[in-house]
Every structure is written in structure tokens, then in C-alpha cells.
């Protein structure tokens, strides 16, 4: 009898200890993980996707050429397209693929736009970018596969499973925000769009230097094939797109490869580089000298894109869905508020 009591006591003690340690570790992890919404916002959007109702008829996947250049509000207000941008800094083509896989677990949109700027990268670029893309994803086989495909040599899978191991030394840089946002981050984007309002005219944009080999790497093609196949399987209209930007240089040789690829696979490829139809003015419509668009440029480009989608793939107009209308009304208000706030900040500088 006494024996059992001691045993029970020990088990209880052990359980309580284990719980206390796990709790401590959990709290520390929440505290030490970087808070993207107040820091590098480019890492916040991937996670925000899961908070938006999965009723999008267009999902855009890609890097900053997507999430800084396209305004979903314009697509909604003028064309009735309910769109979400799953964007992250320097997103690689295999990350785009796994994000597509991930998205299809929640919804099946009419069309998917993939930014193919990343076709030029055949290997992981930088750990910090991997973090921004992968950390926001919910756990699934897609995330696991994305991690293994993306890791640089110095990285470890366990650092993704337990981010505490990665950020253990951040206690030195903690701010008030880290405590405030421990359990819930602030919303930073509008359906994945990150608004920029500054203006920096494009000047002296350099030409690309000649390369030895313009062929995209096998890995890039492999994942492009996978994207194409997945879209066919789910009966999703796939559009490969190159955003209108002046730099980094988009080589004709690259363009030609994608034209060939699109023709062979009967998918659409929309190259917006130097497309006069759009009506962009790189003296006023860019905030960083021709790399990305500011909000004025994004709205112009989004109008072009909306028209194109209507004409080319006859994307449906969802403005008769009451719930969506309501949701977008409040988003529109946020958008305008943010816009005026940002312009005010800009004029104050």
C-alpha cells in the first residue's frame, strides 16, 4: 500500500515537472521568436493567410514583386476578384510550389498566379529568407517538404520544429513588443498586400551583365513541372507571371524559355516587363528606383491585371456574395486609413 503511494507520488511529481518544463519552454519560445508584424513585415503574410476566409477565386504566390505590386482591393472593387497574395521575401520556386500545395488543402481557387522571377535561383539563398517564408506556414507534410527543400547547409530541421533553438540568443534584443505580441501578432497586410507609399524615380538602371548560361536550373524546372501538374489535377487555371520591374534585369533568354514552356504545357505566361499597355510611369510609380511599385503603381498594375484576367480567363465576379462584400467593406476602410496614415508619415519625414 505504502509502496503504491510512493510510486503514485513519484509519477505525479514527474508529470508536474514535465508540464512545468514544457510550459516554460513554450513561453520562452513565444517570447523569443521574432515578431514579424512589428519588425520585418515581409515575413508576416504567410501566416496571415490562414485568418482570411478560404473563399478566394484567385491566389497569387511569389516574392516581393507580388506582395508589393498588386493591390487586392483594386481587384475586388473594380473586378469582383477575391484575391489573396501568399508572398514572402525572396520566395524560391519550390517554396511557391509547397505554398500552392498548402493553399490547396484549404481551398481551390479558379486561378493561381505564380511569380517566375525565382526560376533563376537553383539553390537556397539565405537563411533569413527561408525563415520568413517557412515559419508562417502551418504544420503539414507540405511544410516539412518545403523545409527540407529550402535549408541551407548550416540549417537544421530541428531549428524549425523548435524555433527556440534558432532564436535562443534573442533575449538580448527583446523589446516591449515581444511581450505584447507573444500570443497574437498584429495584422500587417491587406490580403497579402504590403503597401508602400514613397516615391523614388528610376534612374541609371543598369543593364544585366551577360551570363554564361541562361538556362534555368533543373531544380527550377522540376518544381515548375510540379506546379503545372498540381494545377491541372485540381483544375486550377495556372498563370505564370513576371511583374513589371526594371531591376533585377529580366533577360530575353529567360523570357524565351518561359514562352516555350508555357506553349508546350498550354498554360498562360504573362510578362509585364516593359509592357506599355499597363501605363506605369517609373518616375512616379516606384518607391525604390524601379525594383518595386508604390501604392499608386500597384493600383495601376492591378487594374491592368484585373482587365487581363477578365478578358483572358473570364474570372468570375464575386461581388454578389454578401459575406465577401461585407468583409471587403471593412478591409477597404482599413486600406484607406492605412494609406492616409502612411502618406502622413511620409510628408512628416
Amino acid at each position: 500500500m505504502k509502496h503504491i503511494r510512493i510510486l503514485r507520488r513519484r509519477i505525479l511529481r514527474f508529470t508536474v515537472s514535465a508540464i512545468v518544463i514544457c510550459l516554460l519552454l513554450f513561453l520562452l519560445q513565444r517570447l523569443l521568436m521574432p515578431k514579424y508584424s512589428v519588425g520585418t513585415q515581409d515575413g508576416a503574410m504567410i501566416a496571415e493567410y490562414y485568418n482570411d476566409a478560404p473563399k478566394h477565386n484567385l491566389v497569387i504566390i511569389g516574392d516581393s514583386e507580388m506582395y508589393e505590386n498588386i493591390s487586392p482591393l483594386v481587384l475586388w472593387e473594380n473586378y469582383g476578384i477575391n484575391c489573396y497574395i501568399r508572398g514572402s521575401a525572396q520566395q524560391l520556386i519550390w517554396q511557391s510550389y509547397y505554398l500552392l500545395e498548402d493553399t490547396l488543402r484549404y481551398e481551390t481557387p479558379e486561378a493561381v498566379i505564380i511569380n517566375i522571377t525565382s526560376m533563376q535561383y537553383g539553390e537556397p539563398q539565405r537563411e533569413s529568407y527561408n525563415r520568413m517564408t517557412l515559419e508562417g506556414m502551418r504544420w503539414s507534410t507540405s511544410k516539412v517538404k518545403a523545409i527540407f527543400a529550402s535549408m541551407t547547409e548550416e540549417e537544421s530541421f530541428w531549428d524549425y520544429v523548435f524555433p527556440l533553438l534558432r532564436y535562443h540568443s534573442r533575449w538580448n534584443d527583446l523589446t516591449e513588443d515581444d511581450f505584447r505580441l507573444m500570443f497574437s501578432e498584429e495584422k500587417v497586410s491587406l490580403n497579402g498586400y504590403m503597401m508602400q507609399v514613397g516615391v523614388k524615380p528610376a534612374e541609371n538602371v543598369p543593364e544585366g551583365r551577360p551570363l554564361a548560361d541562361y538556362t534555368f536550373s533543373d531544380v527550377s524546372y522540376q518544381y515548375l513541372d510540379k506546379i503545372t501538374k498540381l494545377c491541372k489535377e485540381h483544375d486550377v487555371e495556372l498563370i505564370l507571371m513576371k511583374s513589371p520591374s526594371l531591376y533585377p534585369y529580366w533577360y530575353e533568354e529567360w523570357d524565351a524559355q518561359l514562352k516555350t514552356y508555357a506553349a508546350e504545357h498550354e498554360i498562360r505566361y504573362l510578362n509585364c516587363v516593359n509592357n506599355d499597355e499597363i501605363g506605369l510611369n517609373f518616375q512616379t510609380d516606384t518607391f525604390d528606383g524601379g525594383l518595386h511599385l508604390n501604392v499608386a503603381g500597384a493600383e495601376i498594375y492591378s487594374n491592368f491585371l484585373g482587365r487581363w484576367l477578365q478578358n483572358e480567363i473570364e474570372i468570375s465576379d464575386l461581388r454578389d456574395d454578401g459575406e465577401l462584400v461585407q468583409a471587403w467593406n471593412s478591409k477597404a476602410a482599413d486600406y484607406e486609413e492605412k494609406k492616409s496614415e502612411k502618406y502622413r508619415e511620409l510628408s512628416e519625414q
Binding site: 520562452l28 531549428d159 535562443h168 540568443s169 533575449w171
Partner: protein, 529 residues
């Protein structure tokens, strides 16, 4: 596989579970397989070396043992008929055969070690001579240096010699012997255990003993703390300084002495803590390798407390055999009659010690730096040996013996002396080292110690605070250790107190450890020996 890696922790967990699930008589096999898997992770190419060393020493020891048995049988059978002389000559014939077996295996394995470790050192020296003569230099050869080769070779050889000396009997099962040579906690950086120390631990069955296992884990955690919090942090500053000998001279050299002493101790003894802790988890008691070496009052004492398993190896297998071999004894006799009792008594000791320190130097690395370092130790020890009577007289006259202040003085003196000797490791050559130590006197930049220059070497204020806290903790633990096991003392405390102590240490390592991206997961210093 590094001890500081996720894969090692995972590996340890898996081996642990299997080890305590299988029946006792299979446990050693689990360890053998685990050890080879562990070594395989370090590089498949290495395996052949350790297998060859294992097999050759095992075989030679078996032969020696058989001869031993043959002799015993023969003497027993012919007990009545043999004269004393007959017995003697029979014995010496057997001994001769045994010696041949022993020497063959010994030279063979030392030969492998010498070739893989010292070929390029030899070539570079030959080239230096060739250069003088204006000839064509020899190209360096590209050899692989199997991980931990010095450690496992020494372990295997101690077994061989012990069998030859008849202090242990040979292991019949080659696989069991293979486990002794390759037991993974001690595979890459020691301790250099003896067969007699490990035999019972390795080959008997062990039940899961919670106290022992948690003590083992605690020891590992303590090792991680030394290695990750202290050594891997301080090494950043050390590397910055030693990489640029032009910019960091003078007073910086003194800082380097301190940094390197701390880093070396924390790194090496931390690694040994992990090894011994891992052994303990499996019920295998590995010999201790350190006994608070920085509390030593003389260099000689220091060497009895630092890297103890290596020291005792050199004493048992080099110092004694050389000292008591026939020619040495003859020399000793001759010198005592011809050179007088003072020098006479010392000559043999000096010669054998010279051999030991030369070997110690070379063992540490294939470069002149290490040779000089080893011999510097030799010189210092011999000088202090000679000064001993002087000291004694001084002590008696001023009655300082036993006073705390004097003890502290001795400890600081030993620490500084050892620190300066060790600094050979940090620079690219013997001359550079001397120049750097010399700059301490000529540069006169003492203001760098307080004007904030030390914040520019890759360590921030936070780093210094953590280092200070870590070193203080190490010091407190060492002090407490003098009166018995610290883990036992903590174990005697109530559960909540224990829980708080160990959780705090765990979190401290987790949060302040220098690991992961941004820190170079640096190797243990002693890996490549």
C-alpha cells in the same frame, strides 16, 4: 558526430532505449553496434583503421596469452623433472616470443599513427633542409587522419602491454575487445581508459538505475554548459586576436593567455564531462581526466591533475620502462660512481622525463610548436625540481607553509606559467610565439585592458557578463567539489530545490549557449589528436 549536435542527442536517446530494452547479456553488443554507427557518422573511411588496430592488437594479445598458458601447462606438467635453470631458460624463451608479438603489434600500430599524423610534418622538415641545399621540395601527401586515432591507438596499446606484462588476461572475444577500443563516449577525445577499468562496466548487464542515469545526464548538461556557454563564446574573442598578430600584441597577449587557458579547460574538460556522463548512463564508469587542475600549486602537480589519463599512460608505458631498462640502470650506476650522487641520481630521471615530454609534445600535434611546448614543460618541471630544497628552506625560514595567501600565490603562479606555456598552440610558429610573448614587455599598451578595446574583439558586454557568470559558476562548483560530489550534494536536497537547480542550468545552457546559426559550431579542441 559531434557531442554538441542534435543528432548526437537523438542518437544517445535511441541507444539508451534499446540498451535497456534488450536482455542484459546483449547489452554490450548494443554498445558495440552503436559505437560503430557513431564512428561511421564521422566518416566511413575511418572505419578500416580502427578495425585494423583492433584486430591486430587483439590477435597479438591472444598469442601472448596462449604462450602464457603454454608456459604454465609446461611447467605444471614437468614440475618434478625440470631444474630451476631449465625453468628459467624456458621462461625466457617464452618471454622472448611474447615480446616479439607485443613489439610487432606495437610498432605496427604506432607506425600507422606516425604515418597518418606525422608524414607531412616530416616532409616539411625535410623540405626545409632541401631548401637550404637549393633542391626541389617534396610535395605534401594528402592523408586522412582518422578521428580520435591517437586516443584509440593508445587505448589499444595499453591493453596490449598490460597483457604482455601479465597484469590482465587477454579478451577471447574480438568483438568485446572491439567495444573497448571503440566505446563511443570516449572514442574521439578520451579519456584514455585501461581495459581493467572498463571491463566490468562494459560487459556485465545493467538494470535501469534512475539515479545513475540522471547523474549521467546531469554530468552531460554540465559539460554542455562548459563547452557551449564558456568555451564556444570565448573562442570568438580569442580567434579575433590570434588571427591578427600585427594588431593584437603586447597586453593582448596576456588576455590571450587567460582566454586560451579558460577556453581549453572549458572545452576539453566539458567534452570529457559529456563522455563520462554518457558512459554513466550505460552503467560504464570511465576514469576521470581532470581534477581541478587550475588549483595546482606546481607544474608537476598540474600535470597530475590535467589530462590525467594521458599523463598516467605516459608514466606507465614510457617513463617507467625507459627508466628501469637495463641500459638505464647501468647508466645510473655508472653516473653515480663517476658523476657523484647529486647528478648521478638525477641523470636517468632527466633522460626518461625528456623522452616523456618529447612524446607528450609530439602527441599533441605534428608541429614544432608542440615539440617546443612539451620541452618547455620539461624544463620548467626540472628547474622547479632543482629549486625544491631552496623552496623548502625559504618556507621554513619565513614560515609561509600552509598559509592561505602563499597557497593562492602558488596557484596563480602555476596558472600563469601554464598559460604562457600553452600559448604555443595559438600561433603559427615557435618564433612568432616568442615574438608575441616578447611584445608583452615592449609594446606597453596596457591601456587596452580598460579603455574598451576588449569590446572590439567580437565579444560584447553581454558576452563578458555571461562569461564571468559561467566562470564563477565553474569556480564555485570546483570549490564545492573538494568536499565530495556536487551531484550527490544536490541530490540530498528536497525535490523542488533539485528541480529548480537543474532546470535553471538547462535553461541557462539553452539560452546562453553559443550554438546554432551565427555561431560556428566549433569542434572540440582535442578531436584530432
Amino acid at each position: 558526430m559531434q557531442f554538441v549536435s542534435y543528432s548526437f542527442l537523438l542518437f544517445l536517446a535511441v541507444v539508451f532505449i534499446i540498451y535497456y530494452l534488450v536482455p542484459g547479456r546483449f547489452q554490450w553488443m548494443v554498445l558495440l553496434v552503436a559505437s560503430y554507427v557513431f564512428y561511421l557518422f564521422s566518416g566511413p573511411k575511418y572505419l578500416i583503421y580502427i578495425m585494423v588496430t583492433t584486430f591486430t592488437t587483439w590477435l597479438a594479445a591472444r598469442q601472448i596469452d596462449k604462450l602464457k598458458k603454454q608456459q604454465a601447462d609446461y611447467l605444471e606438467e614437468n614440475k618434478k623433472t625440470l631444474s630451476r635453470e631449465d625453468k628459467k631458460s624456458y621462461k625466457s624463451a617464452i618471454k622472448k616470443k611474447q615480446r616479439f608479438m607485443m613489439l610487432a603489434a606495437l610498432l605496427f600500430n604506432l607506425g600507422i599513427l606516425a604515418v597518418v599524423k606525422y608524414t607531412n610534418f616530416a616532409i616539411s622538415n625535410i623540405n626545409a633542409v632541401i631548401n637550404l641545399a637549393g633542391g626541389q621540395p617534396i610535395e605534401f601527401v594528402s592523408l586522412i587522419l582518422p578521428l580520435g586515432i591517437s586516443f584509440y591507438t593508445f587505448r589499444a596499446l595499453s591493453y596490449l602491454i598490460d597483457v604482455y606484462r601479465n597484469t590482465i588476461s587477454a579478451e577471447k572475444n574480438v568483438f568485446k575487445f572491439a567495444l573497448f577500443v571503440s566505446f563511443f563516449p570516449q572514442l574521439i577525445q578520451g579519456p584514455i581508459s585501461r581495459y581493467s577499468q572498463l571491463e566490468s562496466g562494459l560487459f556485465t548487464s545493467h538494470h535501469l538505475n534512475l539515479k545513475r542515469v540522471s547523474f549521467g545526464l546531469q554530468r552531460i548538461l554540465w559539460g554542455y554548459m562548459k563547452k557551449m556557454v564558456i568555451a564556444d563564446r570565448i573562442v570568438v574573442g580569442l580567434t579575433t586576436m590570434t588571427a591578427d598578430t600585427a594588431a593584437y600584441r603586447g597586453a593582448y597577449v596576456l588576455v590571450e593567455v587567460f582566454f586560451y587557458a579558460i577556453q581549453l579547460y572549458a572545452d576539453f574538460s566539458g567534452g570529457l564531462d559529456m563522455a563520462i556522463g554518457a558512459g554513466q548512463i550505460f552503467g560504464v564508469t570511465l576514469p576521470e581526466n581532470f581534477e581541478r587542475p587550475f588549483f595546482s600549486k606546481s607544474i608537476k602537480e598540474y600535470w597530475n591533475r590535467w589530462h590525467m589519463t594521458m599523463g598516467s599512460w605516459f608514466t606507465d608505458y614510457i617513463f617507467y620502462p625507459i627508466s628501469v631498462c637495463k641500459p638505464m640502470l647501468n647508466l645510473s650506476k655508472w653516473s653515480r660512481t663517476h658523476l657523484g650522487p647529486v647528478l648521478g641520481r638525477r641523470l636517468t630521471v632527466y633522460l626518461s622525463s625528456f623522452a616523456v615530454w618529447l612524446a607528450t609534445g609530439i602527441w599533441h600535434g605534428a608541429s614544432w610548436n608542440f615539440v617546443f611546448w612539451g620541452l618547455s614543460n620539461y624544463v620548467v618541471i626540472m628547474i622547479s625540481q632543482e629549486l625544491e630544497p631552496l623552496y623548502r628552506r625559504f618556507h621554513q625560514k619565513f614560515n609561509v607553509d600552509g598559509s592561505l595567501l602563499y597557497k593562492v600565490f602558488q596557484i596563480v603562479r602555476t596558472f600563469l606559467l601554464m598559460g604562457f606555456l600553452r600559448i604555443y598552440d595559438c600561433f603559427d610558429g615557435v618564433i612568432t610565439t616568442w615574438r608575441m610573448v616578447g611584445s608583452l614587455l615592449t609594446t606597453g599598451n596596457w591601456n587596452i585592458l580598460w579603455d574598451g578595446s576588449l569590446m572590439q574583439i567580437g565579444l560584447s558586454m553581454t558576452d563578458y557578463i555571461i562569461l564571468a557568470a559561467g566562470i564563477l559558476l565553474m569556480f564555485i562548483v570546483s570549490m564545492s567539489q573538494r568536499s565530495g560530489s556536487v551531484r550527490e550534494k544536490i541530490h540530498a536536497k528536497p525535490y523542488t530545490v533539485r528541480f529548480v537547480i537543474w532546470t535553471a542550468l538547462f535553461l541557462a545552457v539553452l539560452l546562453t549557449g553559443a550554438y546554432g546559426i551565427g555561431y560556428d559550431a566549433s569542434n572540440f579542441i582535442y578531436n584530432q589528436f
